[in-house]
């Protein structure tokens, strides 16, 4: 079982327009593993995620999920594969016209012919799992940030996915709620054997949940390894990120002045 990775990225390049966002990304994620993709703002984490979800097409390179190349896949096969994948978006992406329970039940209603009772029980069970019991009838606009994240997670796991993507689980949440969510991610992996990819820039959260971490920087992977290997890395950019140091770029007075006064008239 463990011989074949669930995710296999080879030499992935991505552009927005002329700007290269991802550069020669190679990454493997094994079954049952929690892989955390870490990196500063703008390093390309969300872009990588969009490629893994086949929302963007790579400029070069291949992405295999469950052993299948997602960009060579006929749309029908892609639809089938997507039913085995759960995604929790950064902003939740709950359907605003549906209440919490309907949101969570939505994939089941679309993809299965299960009895209505079964579907509703399943949806409520998942809400229990994420500690949102009793909020079934609220609309997304009535939820707090943490509740939105948890509802989105409930929807992502309602089909019992084999692979779960989670964008920024703890961004903008207080430390207690964020620790709760981390705990939940670990429990999900243990109970359901899900392979989980988490994108985050929160260090504590990353080290709490990760089996392995991959560090993205300006579109390149600096290091991929266990939490220990990453902590002990002697790459200065990795250490800067871990110690929240900003890079001290020496100031070039001429260029700096030029940037500040460029395009101004009368100077």
């Amino acid at each position: 079982m463990n011989s074949q990775p669930i995710i296999e990225i080879r030499e992935l390049d991505a552009y927005y327009g002329d700007r290269k966002i991802l550069d020669q990304i190679d990454l493997q994620v094994n079954e049952g593993e929690i892989m955390v993709v870490m990196g500063g703002s703008g390093s390309g984490k969300s872009t990588l995620l969009r490629h893994l979800l086949s929302l963007n097409r790579p400029s070069a390179g291949t992405i295999r999920l469950f052993g299948q190349d997602i960009n060579g896949l006929p749309s029908r096969k892609l639809h089938e594969m997507r039913q085995r994948i759960g995604v929790s978006f950064q902003g939740g992406a709950l359907f605003n016209s549906l209440n919490v329970e309907e949101n969570v039940a939505f994939p089941l209603r679309e993809h299965t012919k299960l009895d209505d009772n079964t579907i509703r029980i399943m949806a409520r069970m998942k809400l229990e799992v994420v500690n949102l019991a009793g909020f079934e009838k609220l609309m997304p606009s009535q939820l707090s940030g943490g509740m939105i994240k948890r509802a989105a997670l409930a929807r992502a796991i309602v089909m019992d996915p084999k692979l779960l993507f989670f964008d920024e689980p703890s961004a903008g949440l207080d430390p207690v709620v964020s620790a709760d969510l981390d705990e939940l991610i670990l429990r999900l992996r243990d109970a359901m054997g899900v392979t989980i990819v988490v994108v985050t820039h929160e260090l504590e959260s990353a080290f709490r949940i990760a089996d392995r971490i991959t560090v993205l920087d300006r579109g390149k992977i600096l290091i991929t390894g266990t939490t220990r290997e990453v902590k002990e890395s002697d790459n200065s950019r990795v250490q800067n990120l871990l110690n929240r140091r900003t890079e001290d770029v020496p100031v070039n007075a001429d260029e700096y002045l030029q940037r500040l006064t460029d395009d101004l008239t009368g100077l």
């Binding site: 979800l53 086949s54 929302l55 749309s75 029908r76 892609l78 639809h79 089938e80 594969m81 997507r82 039913q83 994948i85 995604v87 978006f89 950064q90 902003g91 992406a93 709950l94 359907f95 605003n96 939505f106 994939p107 679309e110 993809h111």
Partner: protein, 265 residues
């Protein structure tokens, strides 16, 4: 020199963009059609409850406004018609005049413009905000085609409701025209209706209905594609909504002109 160049360049770019946009609408149409036909076999049927709710929003809720505008339009045509024809002592010819222009032209035009104003903006706003909040992405990664789930039901509802709205608009306008003519020319409403049916043939009614299908298609495609193209926050959303209404009304009027030219030669 440079000015002409940039003018030509600009025109070229606009033309290219327009062609690209028309192509996109066409692709959207083909894809919706594909899901309507093939969806049930791929486990992705176009859901009937969604179609019904769209029919409600697009069609049923538009009935009062469409009727009111058409009725007023009928009255106005009678007023103008009688005033003009009086000069030739031919007031009685007002009936065929109204009958033709309502069934062939104005019934469908009013229905389409009302729907473009109401639903063109609402649809673009709804899809646009779903695009902004990543709901469209969420659908996609769940294995649910947004075109199948969002566009196809709107398109079907539009194609089902536009002819009905058009026929309702026709009748409201004829009643409006009939009432005014009746009062001024001492013609009973039933005589008026009889004379209307002497004048128009099924062909005239169908002309309106066929146009209504095309207009419905234009409104649905323009609204949906503007919704999907939203980017750049709430300002972008507002822009897409406005653009959707303006473009669909423009498309309707131009298409109508082309139709009328070919159908009445």
């Amino acid at each position: 020199m440079t000015r002409t160049m940039s003018f030509i360049e600009g025109t070229g770019r606009i033309t290219l963009n327009a062609i690209e946009e028309v192509g996109y609408h066409f692709a959207l149409f083909v894809e919706s059609l594909y899901w309507v036909i093939a969806g049930p076999f791929l486990g992705q049927p176009v859901r009937i409850p969604i179609i019904v709710s769209e029919m409600m929003k697009i069609g049923v809720l538009a009935v009062p406004v469409v009727m009111l505008l058409s009725f007023s339009n009928g009255v106005m045509m009678a007023i103008q018609g009688i005033a003009t024809l009086q000069e030739f002592d031919a007031e009685s010819q007002v009936v065929p005049g109204i009958a033709y222009s309502v069934t062939r032209e104005f019934g469908v035009l009013i229905a389409a413009i009302v729907v473009a104003g109401r639903s063109g903006s609402a649809i673009a706003a709804r899809i646009g905000s779903m695009q902004m909040s990543q709901e469209v992405d969420a659908l996609r990664v769940m294995g649910i085609e947004p075109v199948r789930h969002l566009v196809a039901p709107i398109l079907l509802a539009m194609l089902l409701m536009m002819p009905i709205l058009t026929l309702l608009a026709d009748s409201a306008a004829l009643i409006g025209g009939g009432l005014y003519t009746g009062i001024v020319l001492k013609l009973s409403l039933s005589t008026f209706i009889d004379r209307v049916f002497e004048t128009i043939a099924l062909y005239d009614l169908m002309q309106g209905v066929v146009k209504s299908l095309v207009f419905g298609l234009l409104i649905a495609l323009i609204a949906c594609s503007n919704g999907f193209s939203v980017h750049g926050g709430s300002e972008g959303l507002g822009r897409a909504t406005t653009r959707s209404v303006v473009l669909s009304i423009a498309a309707i009027v131009v298409a109508d002109m082309i139709f009328t030219y070919f159908l009445n030669r």
